[in-house]
Symmetry: C2
Subunit: 230 residues, 2 copies
DNA sequence: GTGACTTTGTGCATCCCTTCACAAGTGCGT
DNA sequence: ACGCACTTGTGAAGGGATGCACAAAGTCAC
């Protein structure tokens, strides 16, 4: 019925963002030889509430069995399909500094669904150098990568001041999905999707809560609860 | 009035998550010698809508001037204060693999508000080795770090299978803010805050949208727009 | 075959966040 | 001194996501 339509169209962003977590939990369960799981158990493994999990999964279709739960392999397959992980997406990493090298060596990329086909750097002094079992290539290779190897996703691991340039080059070459590790906002056309990963931002959010916590402890010495008198 | 109360209490999570972005944009403006900025300009620099920006800032207090805008230095200071960045938070990085080393070398940490006071690893073979200008220390040092150096934030950069162990050790030592780079869910007490950074998850979200896009292109050959007939 | 038990899928209410639109407030030119 | 142009701060409206509670649907034991 409309399950296929729902699968391709109306999945809320918030749900999509949680699907990778479910997939990970399912993979763990499969490795431990567990073949069936209830929404309650899977939700606990993924760190969400069971109601949220069931609603999320309902957007994909109806792959559970009432009174029993979900078949682990089946559900993992359905989520993989929904996320588009049945094919391997070609990925290029731009910027071979510390972070770029760490990402290039990161096994999580190759685990499933992604294939790092090229490492690039703008600096001619680095181009040609070996990184792992690959060789750093020049930015000029981008067009060929998109054309010949169907490069679809670009990872920016450069310093902030060159990130926009790199993004422009990626977009120009035809890449429309970018994962940005540089601490800056990228200006790209509307049809290009950018996701940002920034450790500094995350730390600052932690700091906010840490400060709020200690601040409230200090407050607790004079006033227990509620509004502060002025 | 209630500005101080609001500053410590009722800032929505969504707003807090955007404050670091504003701070970054303000820092850039300051470096370029710009001393005053309107909500429209700052919003563009931070990649959000101006209405959202103004509402976010209104939670901190009233630091703008109608008809003029915001003074860059002043606003940066107020946001820093709200985030708790007027002090330097001691941070420890656990796990000295590829990622841990890259994070240890990452300049973004030390930029402002954070101070990496220790690099730890569980593997005795790595303990004692130099990383940058620091020496890798054993997990047993955690208690002393919390007690003597007020360690408040722990960064987990280990493989997924040891992340939970490390988290337990951190919590046991008294750390209540954790930034987790390992691709797994951490089980911690309620009063411990965990934020997760996972490149694999981000890539999968990009893949979803990339797939949806190409899927719709294929669809476009037969049906232009709207519901698909069944 | 039947009944008791388990678990999914989902309508509904609630909450939070975003967006809109404008009154209130400020500076500037005349 | 006064009006004009501009921008902030905010109530109100709208949209989305979350949590609840339960009917629907299936299994298992006997």
């Amino acid at each position: 019925m409309s399950a296929d339509v729902a699968a391709r169209r109306g999945i809320p962003d918030a749900s999509v963002a949680r699907l990778p977590g479910y997939l990970q939990a399912l993979t763990n369960l499969a490795e431990r030889g567990i073949s069936s799981v209830s929404s309650e158990e899977l939700a606990a493994a993924a760190g969400v509430s069971s109601a949220k999990l069931r609603k999320d999964l309902s957007h994909l279709g109806s792959y559970g069995v009432r009174g029993v739960g979900y078949e682990v392999d089946r559900l993992a397959y359905e989520i993989s399909t929904a996320l588009g992980l049945t094919q391997d997406w070609p990925v290029a990493i731009v910027g071979m500094g510390n972070l770029g090298r760490a990402l290039a060596a990161y096994s999580g990329f190759t685990t499933r669904g992604f294939n790092v086909i090229a490492l690039l750097d703008r600096d001619e002094a680095i181009v040609g150098a070996p990184v792992g079992d690959r060789t750093v290539r020049p930015m000029g290779d981008l067009d060929a990568l998109v054309r010949d190897d169907r490069l679809a996703i670009g990872v920016i691991a450069t310093p902030a001041d060159s990130a926009q340039d790199v993004a422009d080059r990626l977009v120009e070459a035809g890449v429309r999905s970018i994962l940005n590790f540089a601490p800056c906002v990228l200006d790209v056309p509307d049809d290009v999707m950018v996701r940002k990963v920034d450790m500094s931002t995350e730390l600052q959010i932690l700091a906010f809560h840490e400060q709020r916590r200690t601040g409230e402890l200090d407050l607790g010495r004079t006033a227990d609860v509620g509004e502060v008198a002025l």
